[in-house]
Symmetry: C2
Subunit: 132 residues, 2 copies
DNA sequence: TTGCATGCAAAAACTTTGCATCATG
DNA sequence: CATGATGCAAAGTTTTTGCATGCAA
């Protein structure tokens, strides 16, 4: 995909994409930390630049979970909806199919096409509901 | 509500809450700008601290729209779901009822309670779909 | 009068930019 | 070997913190 666009395949880019896959959901800083374990010299700047690039290529996607930095995750075929617990911060994933009734209705009523791979739903997870 | 918790009602807090209501969806900086038109001395620090407080009290809520600062909006009775266009940045609001099928299923299957007032759905609005 | 709230300044956290050097294709 | 990519340093943004002062109750 990189070469198609006249771009270069570098070790840094490979490592960063691998880290996103391994971590599931991670901030630029967490990704940087993971990459550094394999290649100590990689700069945080490169992480930011590469994440932006990978997002352009639709290889990763990001969402904002409550406060702080955005988190990046794999994108593409196996999209998923995020369930973010506002109490414990856990991130669960569900099949985007759960959104179908909503996306269809919004398509009909508002002519709005929801980007399902980008959805994060805030709330309270089962564990936290039991411990108020 | 403030007094119930032993907190104080100050002009700054009133103005900030008013600004959130007037603006609909606004970043801390936009809120600060609006508040300053009525009271020039109000500090951005106070805006941040007050928004956090008002969120605690469930009087406002925030969501993250793509990149940049979070946006704050009124919360409480008249909750709404946000439709954010990734192309033109417009923010539309819809009745949270559209989410009912999803929230019910997640409640059943995952024991996850969705905070409907906090939902933002990314996608492409009708206007932008016609102009690629 | 009490102590919560504010303003100010400074620090912290996060992200972007410019430029010389490196290394992919 | 041309030019896209990286590392470094520095600047830009956004948010948080510490502390003295101010003011609501």
């Amino acid at each position: 995909m990189l070469r198609e666009r006249g771009l270069r395949l570098t070790p840094q880019r490979q490592l960063i994409l691998e880290a996103v896959h391994e971590l599931g959901h991670a901030t630029p800083e967490q990704i940087h930390h993971t990459v550094r374990q394999r290649a100590a010299g990689v700069n945080i700047t490169t992480v930011y630049r590469t994440l932006e690039l990978l997002e352009d290529l639709r290889l990763v996607s990001h969402t904002h979970l409550s406060h702080g930095s955005p988190t990046y995750h794999r994108a593409g075929e196996d999209q998923h909806v995020h369930l973010v617990c506002r109490d414990c911060g856990s991130i669960d994933e569900v099949d985007p199919a759960v959104m179908l009734p909503v996306t269809e209705q919004l398509q009909r009523d508002r002519n709005f096409r929801v980007d399902v791979g980008h959805v994060s739903l805030f709330g309270v997870c089962g564990d936290c509901k039991e411990q108020p």
